[in-house]
């Protein structure tokens, strides 16, 4: 009979994975991603080398940052994709904890796999997890500390957070130095939390120790020829205007002449026009002119004649930052000199960093901005230092906004785990099993940190748990000595926002993957032969 023939509903090459197989595939994918980044966790975590392929094949990156690693590995497994996306969001949202969030989600799924083997329904597990998240969040909030009213203590908190964040990165050797850099930079922002005002300049050469914070603003540009190299009491006009040939933008216009003489006339007119423009600019009474776009030789020469420092081709970020720092506005028309606010600074001079010459703007009126110059032996080191410092800055900025802090070193994870298992003991029904599983997953984070350092983690974690059960809520792992210690005394603190975000994002993503019982893949799009250039 024909009807007994298999009926294919989906297209060829479209795939469907059902129930157990679907679950298996998503667990395997998610756990693989977790295992991939697991070894980078904690102060004794290891780094990864990423070798790119494609256009810049062979380029090497060395990193410890979870989001960077996950962005670079191309994954095909749908569940793994969810985790990668989650870690990216964590990076965009709070900047740090990208590894922890991935590891926690994958540990949760590992526990879930075990529960599913015991024939517990995924929805029951989810119900338990939701309760567990609420309990953990409450526990975290209750133990968080807020020192925002005490400036000195708050600065100490910030220093501790910066130190904790940096300790797992390449900068850990110099964490004192960089923690100070980062805290100084963020404190200068005066609570605005706008990281744009902090500029990171990477210059390879020298050592990490030589990195420094410059109170002014550094611009990686040179003034034009014959122009002053040093300007005191600078009045800066920041512009975004074409200074090549001032084209006429009315659509469809073009020049049509019938003699050579007319061309010469037009050329003269064009030159005249440029001169007009320069004159207009000069009327602003500025002695420094910084443009986002090119400045051609002719106007450059005019500026030199007038003794004005002219800098071309400062990129958009540079211009915006400069406007922010010097308090000037970005100008594109020059007809109303009275209305334009000029930027000001006390001194512009050239400085040598390594073998590059940069322009330094010092004595800027808005003391908010600053520049951090990162030095290091190789490009990879400088890049990684940049990423680490960026993480630290993000965390600090987040802490300035939401001033609560919690203790690190696995202390807050253990605390949450203990709270969750206590709550599980009081919960009737199968959800309790899921809650216990949640607590176990939380405890995995300190376990991995201990494992990565080569300590006897089983011993350490049991001691840590015992300490928390006996009411010592500031106990955590002292990674220097390999023992349980008091995090308060050691000054290992983390930002409350980051921890909370890790908890919530990981639980959300794990729940999402756990809810799936069917994976349906469409047929992959056929690759069309490339028709050469496009």
């Amino acid at each position: 009979m024909v009807s007994l023939n298999p009926v294919r509903v989906l297209k060829h090459e479209a795939e469907e994975e059902k129930a157990e197989i679907a679950r298996l595939s998503s667990f395997v994918g998610a756990i693989a991603i977790g295992d991939l980044v697991k070894s980078t966790l904690g102060p004794k975590g290891m780094d990864k080398i990423l070798v790119s392929s494609g256009r810049n094949a062979g380029q090497v990156e060395v990193t410890n940052d979870g989001a960077t690693i996950l962005k670079a590995v191309g994954v095909d497994n749908p569940a793994a994709k969810i985790l990668v996306d989650m870690s990216k969001v964590q990076d965009d949202e709070v900047g740090d904890g990208t590894t922890s969030v991935t590891v926690l989600a994958s540990e949760l799924l590992k526990e879930a796999e075990r529960l599913i083997d015991q024939k517990i329904h995924p929805q029951t597990i989810i119900a338990g997890w939701r309760k567990a998240v609420d309990v953990a969040r409450k526990a975290l909030r209750d133990t968080s500390l807020d020192h925002s009213d005490n400036n000195e203590k708050f600065r100490e908190d910030l220093m501790n957070i910066a130190r904790t964040t940096l300790s797992s990165k390449i900068l850990s050797q110099h964490k004192e130095h960089f923690a100070k850099l980062a805290v100084d930079a963020v404190v200068r922002l005066k609570g605005s939390g706008d990281l744009q005002a902090i500029q990171l300049i990477k210059k390879s050469g020298g050592t990490l120790e030589e990195s420094f914070l410059d109170e002014g603003f550094l611009l990686d540009k040179k003034p034009g020829v014959h122009q002053p190299k040093r300007v005191e009491n600078a009045k800066i006009l920041i512009a975004n205007t074409p200074m090549d040939t001032d084209k006429i933008k009315v659509f469809g216009s073009h020049i049509k002449v019938d003699s050579m003489a007319k061309i010469a006339e037009l050329e003269a007119a064009e030159k005249e026009k440029m001169k007009d423009k320069v004159n207009k600019i000069l009327k602003h009474n500025a002695n420094v002119f910084i443009n986002r776009q090119l400045i051609y030789n002719y106007p450059e020469q005019l500026f030199a004649d007038a003794g004005v420092m002219a800098i071309e081709h400062a990129d958009f970020d540079g211009i915006e930052r400069l406007a922010l720092v010097t308090g000037g506005e970005i100008v594109s028309t020059f007809d109303n000199p009275d209305l334009v606010r000029l930027g000001k600074c006390d001194l512009i001079e050239q400085v040598m960093i390594g073998e590059d010459i940069l322009l330094r703007f010092s004595g800027v009126p808005l003391g908010e901005a600053c520049t951090v110059v990162i030095r290091g032996a190789t490009q990879q080191i400088v890049d990684e230092a940049d990423r680490s410092l960026h993480d630290a800055l993000c965390v600090l900025a987040a802490t300035v906004k939401e001033t609560r802090i919690v203790y690190g070193g696995g202390c807050s994870e253990t605390l949450m785990a203990v709270a969750v298992s206590k709550a599980a003991a009081n919960t009737p029904g199968k959800e309790a099993v899921a809650m216990e599983a949640f607590a176990r997953a939380l405890l995995q984070l300190p376990t991995i940190i201990g494992d990565n350092a080569g300590y006897d983690s089983a011993q350490l974690i049991s001691e840590l748990k015992a300490a928390h059960y006996s009411g010592n809520v500031t106990a955590g792992l002292n990674m220097e000595a390999g023992e349980v210690g008091d995090m308060k005394a050691l000054g290992i603190t983390e930002s409350f926002v980051v921890k909370r975000q890790v908890l919530l994002s990981a639980a959300e993503a794990a729940e999402m993957i756990l809810r799936v019982d069917n994976i349906i893949k469409a047929a992959p799009r056929r690759r069309v032969e490339d028709r050469g250039h496009c």
Binding site: V2, D76, T241, K262
Partner: protein
């Protein structure tokens, strides 16, 4: 198979390229279709109900979507089979008509076809089965009306609305902040209909926009009384907040004039050159002048700005948003009560929109920002702003909120409800079984199995919740008959009572009726096909 011979015994061809075509005829065709349809229904079955599970869909570019919504699952499935395609359409039309119940409608259609197969084996003609089904569907719809309850719906009494939205959201991932999101959806719909408009009983979904942004947590999902535009102010130095905004909504670019007719403007002499240059500058000045004269303090433009124009706007202390999408322009216009103006010359004070406050809000550590236009003149336009830990959650959140909005609107339109948890289906099944015996013709059989098919929904519900499906159903059914209470259904969440009225699991009457009618129609259509000629793939 379809080779014919003429009177001389020579073969002639009816279908060209026979060997390349596939042909199915008669009962075989119907049976093969039924098999395919059941396949599709089985995929969806496990996502039914509050304990239903989700699916991961991977599209042809490898992008991942996680969803629980029947219509979305089917739409993204790479379906080849012709009958499966019909089911995709079915769930799509349920989505367009009612917005919710897209899964149940397919499950019901699958169950109907399964029952029809048994009747085909008995030798009943497919058309008679189809007729019986439509009679049964009629009975069902009438019965649903008798067991439906009326609820009071107004902006003060919104409990019923929230409950119906909660039922729709129960199976989704957003159920973690169940009541909050249900309330947001209801508030959005109620904002859409002003009290005066409650007579008309319809909501314009154009006015409700669902925007999402990854990051944050699901609890941060909010209802914005105004419009959210995924853009930033055009000049970085414009202040981030503007109060008492007068909005000029323009569809003309702040750029040098670009005549649409093809022209060649020739510059022949120096005078021409200078004239043109001056003209160009003057156009910019005129543009700003027109805006300034009308009294606007913010410009919302569909197109880009020239650098010079941008700076001139800043200098004349006008705020500006550029590259606003077409539909967003309309929303801004509706919300602010302004008119969309195509030319600078036509800008007048009356055509400006107004808003209490316009803010640019930055997110996270990247430079992402969005513009919130709030406290507008016309408060009917609202935006639901969804947050979540990753892209997939935000997308699924948006879809779920759409469902919730739809059911809420349906309840506003028609305030009759039936109870969920499979109770309505069970009650209909009982009714149909009673009615079937009264019918003298062959259709009796079809009607009877229609009742059995209806039970597939409660069976799937209890299967997904991990109960012994048949026992539970039998229990509830006998209880319904003995107590004569049509509100008894499957207790998916183990709250300890079968009574859905007590559990407040409610669905709209229109939604349920539509489900049954649509499923029956498609089943009838499939049963009537007896020949398929398809190209071999």
């Amino acid at each position: 198979m379809s080779l014919l011979f003429d009177e001389y015994g020579l073969p002639f061809i009816v279908v060209r390229d026979q060997e390349q075509k596939q042909r199915l005829k008669g009962v075989d065709a119907v049976k093969s279709h039924i098999l395919a349809a059941r396949n599709v229904a089985n995929i969806l079955k496990s996502s039914l109900g509050p304990k239903g599970l989700d699916k991961i869909m991977v599209n042809s570019d490898g992008e991942v979507t996680v969803t629980n919504d029947g219509a979305t699952i089917l739409k993204m499935m790479d379906v080849r089979h012709q009958v499966a395609k019909l089911l995709v359409e079915l769930s799509q039309s349920q989505d367009d008509e009612v917005g919710d119940g897209t899964t149940s409608v397919v499950v019901l259609a699958g169950a109907l076809l399964e029952q029809a197969e048994a009747l085909l084996d008995k030798g009943i003609h497919p058309v008679r089965i189809a007729d019986g089904f439509s009679m049964a569907a009629e009975i069902c719809c009438r019965h649903l009306e008798t067991i439906s309850d009326e609820v009071e719906v107004s902006s003060e009494r919104k409990t019923a609305l929230v409950e119906v939205a909660m039922t729709a959201l129960g199976s989704k991932i957003v159920s973690r902040c169940h009541r909050q999101i249900a309330t947001i959806a209801v508030d959005a719909v109620l904002a859409g209909i002003k009290m005066a408009d409650l007579e008309r009983k319809d909501v314009d979904f154009e006015l409700i926009k669902v925007e999402g942004k990854v990051g944050g947590k699901m609890e941060e999902t909010t209802l914005v009384k105004g419009v959210v535009v995924d853009k930033g102010f055009s000049h970085p130095q414009m202040s981030k907040e503007l109060k008492n905004a007068k909005i000029a909504i323009l569809t003309c670019p702040f750029e040098p004039p670009k005549p649409k007719t093809k022209n060649t403007l020739s510059i022949k002499s120096v005078e021409d050159y200078e004239k043109l240059h001056n003209y160009e500058r003057k156009t910019f000045e005129d543009m700003i002048g027109h805006v300034k004269k009308s009294g606007a303090n913010i410009v919302c433009c569909q197109w880009g700005f020239d650098d010079e124009a941008n700076h001139m706007l800043l200098q004349s202390s006008l705020h500006a948003i550029r590259w606003v999408g077409g539909s967003e322009m309309e929303l801004v216009a509706i919300a602010s009560g302004g008119r969309i103006v195509p030319r600078f010359e036509e800008l007048t004070r009356e055509k400006l929109g107004s808003a209490g406050i316009i803010r640019e809000i930055q997110f996270g550590t990247t430079k992402d920002s969005m513009i919130f236009i709030e406290s507008c003149a016309n408060s009917r336009a609202v935006t639901i702003f969804v947050r979540g830990g990753n892209k997939m959650i935000v997308e699924e959140g948006k879809r779920s909120i759409h469902d919730a909005l739809c059911v809420t609107r349906n309840l506003v339109k028609d305030n009759r409800i039936v109870y969920g948890g499979g109770s309505a289906e069970i009650s209909c099944a009982i009714k149909i079984n009673a009615e079937a015996d009264k019918i003298a013709t062959l259709e009796q059989y079809a009607i009877r199995v229609f009742g059995d098919a209806l039970e597939s929904v409660p069976i799937a519900l209890s299967e997904n919740s991990g109960f012994p499906a048949i026992t539970t159903l039998a229990n509830v059914k006998t209880l319904q008959i003995s107590t004569n209470n049509p509100h008894l259904g499957i207790d998916c969440l183990k709250r300890g009572t079968y009574d859905m009225k007590e559990q407040r699991v409610i669905e709209t009457l229109i939604g349920k009726q539509q489900q049954i009618m649509l499923a029956t129609q498609v089943v009838k259509m499939i049963l009537k096909i007896d020949d398929v000629i398809a190209n071999e793939i």
